[in-house]
Amino acid sequence: MNEPIIEIVENIDTAKVYTELSDSKSGGICVFVGTVRDFTNNEPVISLEFEAYKSMAIKEMAKIIDQAAEKWPLNRVVMRHAVGLKKVKEPVVVIGVSSAHREACFEACRYMIDTLKETVPIWKKEMFKDKSVWVSAHP
């Protein structure tokens, strides 16, 4: 596998991810983009605010990529998370994988976003019209 691209950034440019994943040994590229949607639990969401423990988040993201690379033969990986205030439709996370065959890139991409949501120290606050809530903080 090539050196993965792991970043925490203010703004995600979804257009450039294919250039980053493009690879002569790869027949398949799978990309997941998480975006801000306008409703949560039937309440209109105005925006999301993301906060990261940046140094540790980068380490945890690297671990997830290492785990995925042990499970599947991968060629290139991009894992990029946004921080700060994000409006509806804006991208908040991009995970992209290229591999020789499509099975590996689909499965690795799914594994990486699922695991990122469980282990990477990044927090999301949902901003509603008249309140804001840290997601999953309370039972």
């Binding site: 906060e51 282990t119 990477v120 120290p121 999301k124 309370h138 039972p139």
Partner: protein, 80 residues
């Protein structure tokens, strides 16, 4: 010994880091730190859970705390 706070724990404490001198007694381990935080800030006990990271790695309760460790409180993560 500074403790970095994130997300809801920052809101509970009202600042983005905490000095151990703010706590009743200096915690020697992650487990003692968790007890001290729960005692000093009862809102911590109402969280779904929270973890402690020492030097950027999740740390179990037995882990000892040393003077120059980077200690952070990790409330339930919700990235992605």
């Amino acid at each position: 010994m500074e403790i970095i706070l994130f997300g809801i724990t920052k809101d509970i404490v009202g600042k983005s880091s905490l000095n151990v001198s703010d706590l009743n007694q200096k915690p020697r381990s992650v487990g003692e730190l968790i007890s001290s935080l729960n005692a000093a800030y009862p809102e911590f006990t109402k969280l779904s859970s929270f973890a402690v990271a020492v030097n950027g790695e999740y740390a179990s309760q037995e882990v000892d705390l040393k003077e120059n460790d980077e200690i952070a409180i990790i409330p339930p993560v919700s990235g992605g």
